[in-house]
Symmetry: C2
């Protein structure tokens, strides 16, 4: 661990303080899942290759260490084991016997090849909750295909829609800008794990099988029923939303864009008043959400004409006074300095021994009575190997030395 | 309910069959949360205004009914109560007394004005899990500001990044194409609820406070530590990903785009072999992820040149043979017909009395031993008012008639 002592920080009010989670994860999805569990107090043990999780190489670095890792690995104990080495399997099975949950995101079938298939794990621990995260799920014709978040996002239908309206831009659809397919799958896995724990007393060990592509597909609103019933192939709408209006990024006199979301009847009437155009709310083209969506080009042209008469700050002030949902488009600087995020401790300082004091995102969901904490930041590879193997498996120094000598652990 | 009988369908293997959830939600976030709980078997009671949730007007309609609603409202019981009417508060408190969880997404403070603040709810039911979903959280300087998903997405930093690289496109950043801020917040709320239930036996009623903006911020990878330590303001990267390469949408001879995600050392070496350019893997510009990200323009130019020599189908076949993560960019048609989604029942037929047989997304997370079900599709407003008030509050026909006469229920 890098900055804080485990025991002191594991307050009894941490919601998941009595939960132990074994992670055999890499890259984004499974480690994101365990970050959420660790943030709320779970003892997350990350079994990590001797060279470390490849994501330690991702993003901006200081002294060869990734700043993202400070967040992605926080509150976890890193136990470095080469899972392919002879004897490694028994170590992992031993840790599984002492855990409530295991989370992994190898390609389906790989855990079995390592001697860590579901049956082997349950033989050690019948009540173990096993969570698999994969590109396409544990079975089926694509079950063994490799995938990353970008694949899940594209197969789930999200990438196609992250684009300007057809005909307005020659460039390909954009990525959402972060690995949202991975993080949504990780979030679904965390939810599934808690569901499995809820029913554990009745049902014993439960298996959670989350696919990146399916996690994304599940968010796609009316896409499937609309296609199947009406043949509608949902199309990208750029800065607008497909189902409600007005909601878009409107231009200002100083060349900025301001988000205005006045997409309810009441909010739209307020916006018309503020525009000095109360008659628009009664205009049959704009009366009711369906009419507004049908005539969104004409509607947005009216709003553009108005928004362009203000600079962004003046426009935002006017909208705020009228209680109309609106904001600027935040960059990292805006997020870091936002008074609400600061008030809510959702942008917080964390003391990282490698980087000094840096900003971290806070803990979501906020559990009011036991809000969790950043007990320590992303640890170095294997920082807790000896401590965990001693504590959980009763291992002595000679045995640790021998395993290290054989490059089974680091 | 519209298609299936509740009791018959509530199989004992549904993971959350013993959970009752009261929803005072509208639009997307809170109803998405309860959809997840209902999919896994919870008895979700949606308290709905007499005119219905405004989202019933969103998206494509048949006979005045929204197809999206068929999914968004599935597995829920709709109880239509005008919560502002005299006497309505007591009805809702009565239902809360019989529930494990309440989920709401009014503007903070509104529940209190209705007589349904946390203290009033806990007076009825000390163990109640209360989940609030809001734009900015329950307190702080923006606490009472109105918000929708688009606001949370922009404030959380996602919208700025959903764009082409600076200088390549004059249009504003796009929306992800669906209400991802809402659905991610709903998913966090569902996770938080299960965490609260896990500790309920020790801690009594627990409060979960999820903000759209915070839910989005929590996904932003290294954005905050990179800004605070190095002053890096994360920028959009269009079709690429910021932290790893190569991963983008590559052009083909037939004018399509194919996603290739060869962003690990092993996958990149495979890709170079397949391109007939094994020397690229050893090229110092492309050796290791950090070098590839630094030289991504040159790298993608090499891949573009190669991908343009194939049509999309041939290219995808070659990539699949080499086990390199890749896919086309799926539309609704591709999702609906995908053999893996069909195999996994993630694209499934649902029988909706209003629409006939339509396609629904399946149930995520997949809990292997108790996978949940679509017991019925989105019900009409108030379809279960009488049944629920009779079953849970022991209400008689005369009392129901009187409340209906006074327009308290519908």
């Amino acid at each position: 661990m890098t900055s804080t002592d485990t025991k002191a920080a594991l307050s009894p009010t941490s919601a998941l303080a009595d939960l132990r989670v074994l992670e055999l994860g890499h890259f984004v999805a499974a480690p994101f899942c365990t970050r959420l569990l660790g943030d709320l107090g779970a003892d997350v043990i990350k079994v990590e290759p001797l060279k470390g999780d490849p994501v330690r190489e991702w993003g901006a670095q200081v002294g060869g260490r990734s700043l993202w890792w400070s967040v992605h690995g926080r509150n976890k104990r890193s136990v470095s084991i080469d899972v392919r080495a002879p004897g490694a399997c028994e170590l992992v099975l031993g840790l599984a016997a002492k855990s409530d949950v295991i989370v992994e995101n190898f390609r389906p079938g790989h855990m079995g090849k390592l001697g860590l298939g579901d049956a082997a794990l349950r033989a050690q621990n019948p009540d173990l909750v096993i969570a698999h995260v994969s590109g396409f799920g544990q079975d089926g014709p694509y079950g063994k295909k490799p995938a990353f978040g970008v694949i899940g996002e594209a197969i789930g239908g999200l990438r196609y829609l992250s684009d300007h309206a057809p005909g307005t831009c020659d460039l390909p659809p954009v990525r959402a800008g972060i690995s949202v397919g991975d993080s949504v799958a990780g979030l679904y896995a965390a939810f599934g794990i808690m569901v499995a724990l809820w029913q554990r007393s009745r049902a014993g060990g439960t298996t959670v099988d989350v696919a990146l592509s399916e996690a994304v597909l599940s968010l796609m609103e009316g896409m499937l029923p609309e296609y199947s019933r009406l043949g509608i192939v949902r199309q990208p709408t750029g800065s607008r939303i497909a189902t409600a209006a007005p909601s878009s990024a409107y231009p200002t006199a100083d060349g900025a864009r301001v988000i205005i979301a006045a997409n309810s009847d009441i909010l739209f009437a307020k916006l018309c008043d503020r525009m000095g155009r109360p008659e628009l709310a009664a205009d049959p083209r704009f009366h009711g959400n369906r009419a507004r969506v049908e005539n969104v080009e004409a509607l947005d042209a009216e709003i553009d004409r108005w928004s362009l008469t203000f600079d962004a700050a003046t426009l935002l002030k006017a909208l705020e006074e009228a209680n109309i949902p609106s904001c600027k488009i935040y960059t990292a600087v805006d997020c870091a300095n936002d008074i609400q995020f600061r008030h809510r401790n959702m942008v917080r300082e964390a003391n990282d021994t490698n980087f000094g004091t840096i900003l971290h995102p806070g803990i979501v969901p906020h559990i009011v009575e036991s809000p969790g904490s950043v007990r320590w930041t992303g640890p170095d590879v294997g920082a807790h190997t000896d401590a965990v193997l001693t504590e959980l498996l009763g291992m002595k120094a000679e045995r640790l030395a021998e395993l290290r000598e054989r490059r089974v652990i680091a």
